[in-house]
Symmetry: C2
Subunit: 344 residues, 2 copies
């Protein structure tokens, strides 16, 4: 039974997206009956929104009233000082206290990361948390981390990200022995920064992980690895470049279709294909970045997530919360003798 | 009058691509009558290929016979030792000697970069050369650098890349006052690495450049800047991620078209649109990365360039060689008082 804390007030859209998202999750084929929800936020607004649902209103849920909301532009330091009684802090706090098993929020990313780190604390042996997400690939999906939590990463951080990504892929992709790769600017062993080369040498020598070497940016979608590990800077650049390229091609296609009669006829027949591609690459269907490395499960939903996106973030939260995710990372870290290697 | 040295033997395809590329350049609308060519390589092979052309054989060209070819897998250090009498080294050397104004090669990238740096030497005040290329955008094109020559870049390197990109955009994009941006993981001034933040602060305070701030990966195609500056690691990741994303969407589209009759009918009407999009994003039409920062113009054409791609690289070489590109960089560097700022 997974108990999920929902920051009902977070995000640009607010309660209609968060409560609506949980309702959509319950209606989806991926939903699980062994789950309960604890909504944090303004009680009347939440109750009003729950009343509009058909599944959720008869489901296992409760509301924890919180009067305050952390605004989207509040600096993390201020959120740490003034977060008490806010929906975000109280939701995270409930996981730290063991009352819930995971928390999901679409709120202020900086504040969420800072509060999660303080409240949930890091797993022993992990130095920095990473932002991890699922990306579509031609034949499935892959786990990618770090997507922007850490600007500078040493070899040690990359190795820890690999261990966490491996644990996540076993659960989220249902793979027994996920393949793990490091994102680099070449596949040869002498390519890249010193941090990447050291991390690669370490992972290659380490038994117990299916490390497959370096991959390049053009391999991200090509199913070369189930787990793609990178520093937060290039991970974020890659992720946003993907978004930009998809948008660019979409704009070119739209222009082509609108500019001629042949284009319009083509769209008439091809709309189904376009929609199915849209669906498979729709960021809402890959929403829900996990803040991994913490003693608890914290899922960050995109700030402008609608109910479709939020439902996917809830799904990720439930998958991780109903497994031994944090325990698996702890065991893997304990079994990795990093001290004995020369990456320090 | 621009005199262009061509390493006729470089690249996977060889003389048919290089000589064919020059022929295609001469036939293109962008070609210029004030240009001459000096082909370096095996004389009989080159003469044989020139004989097949219609424009080039009556044009201003000569052949410099070189018996050796630098193989694609030769290590740069070995190329430096044994490069004498090779088509690549002799072509670069002709630019260093002032016999030619630019060199174009599709050969071994590492060897080409090492030889160019040794033969042409760096411009005073520039610490490292950068790989610069043109990328398509929705309304035009942008100049992007560094695309992989430097794995680690400090603020000083990024500032120098910005100055060189600015000079290039004035010529290649024909812009009087090109906008210049730094690629980062957020647009706020506190985002990114210390190197990027320092470079941003310096460029903002510097008069004489239209610096517009940070842009993110999803802005690359959105015409937010004429010049996009980044470190070689994230530049290479972004470039290859673009390639990968285009390939991924192309595969999804092809699958959609082949999987249904509606798809096939749609393609029947939409083939023209697909082809026009393919044309605008075809890497061959953006081929020709400049190795900037050197006392001379060295253009790297992709190793597997066919004649279409090589023609575009020749076009870039001619545009830069028939302008005051290197002189403009020298003047801009001289006018930039970097010593007085705190990026050191």
């Amino acid at each position: 039974m997974a108990r999920i804390a929902i920051d009902a007030m977070g995000g640009d859209i607010g309660v209609s997206a968060t409560i609506g998202g949980v309702e959509k999750y319950l209606a989806s084929k991926d939903s699980c009956a062994c789950v309960s929800f604890d909504f944090f936020g303004k009680e009347d607004l939440i109750a009003q929104e729950v009343a509009k649902t058909s599944r959720l209103k008869n489901f296992d849920y409760c509301i924890t009233s919180c009067e305050k909301v952390i605004e989207s532009d509040m600096r993390p330091a201020l959120a740490l000082r003034n977060g008490k009684c806010s929906s975000m802090l109280e939701a995270i706090s409930s996981v730290a206290d063991g009352k819930n098993d995971a928390v999901v929020s679409s709120g202020n990313t900086g504040a969420y990361m800072a509060l999660s780190k303080i409240m949930l604390k890091m797993i022993d042996g992990i130095e920095r948390p990473a932002l991890m997400s699922l990306l579509p690939s031609f034949d499935g999906r892959s786990v990618v981390l770090d997507l922007g939590a850490n600007v500078d990463c040493g070899a040690k951080n990359l190795i820890q990200f690999a261990i966490m990504g491996d644990a996540a892929a076993k659960i989220l992709l249902n793979k027994k022995d996920p393949s793990v790769a490091l994102l680099n600017i070449g596949v040869e062993k002498n390519k890249g920064t010193e941090a990447i080369r050291s991390a690669g040498a370490f992972l290659e020598a380490r038994h117990g992980m299916n490390y497959v070497g370096f991959i390049e940016g053009n391999d991200i979608f090509m199913d070369k690895a189930d787990v793609i590990v990178c520093d937060g800077f290039s991970g974020n650049i890659a992720l946003k470049t993907i978004e930009g390229t998809i948008k660019f091609l979409g704009k070119l296609l739209k222009k082509g279709i609108n500019d001629s009669i042949r284009g319009k006829v083509s769209y008439l027949f091809g709309a189904g294909i376009a929609n199915s591609i849209k669906l498979s690459i729709d960021p809402r269907n890959h929403n829900g970045a996990s803040l991994v490395g913490l003693n608890g499960i914290a899922i960050k939903s995109h700030g402008n997530s609608d109910s479709v996106g939020f439902a996917h973030a809830v799904c990720v939260a439930n998958d991780l919360a109903s497994s031994r995710f944090v325990e698996n990372i702890k065991e893997a870290i304990e079994n990795t003798e990093m001290e004995s290697c020369d990456v320090y």
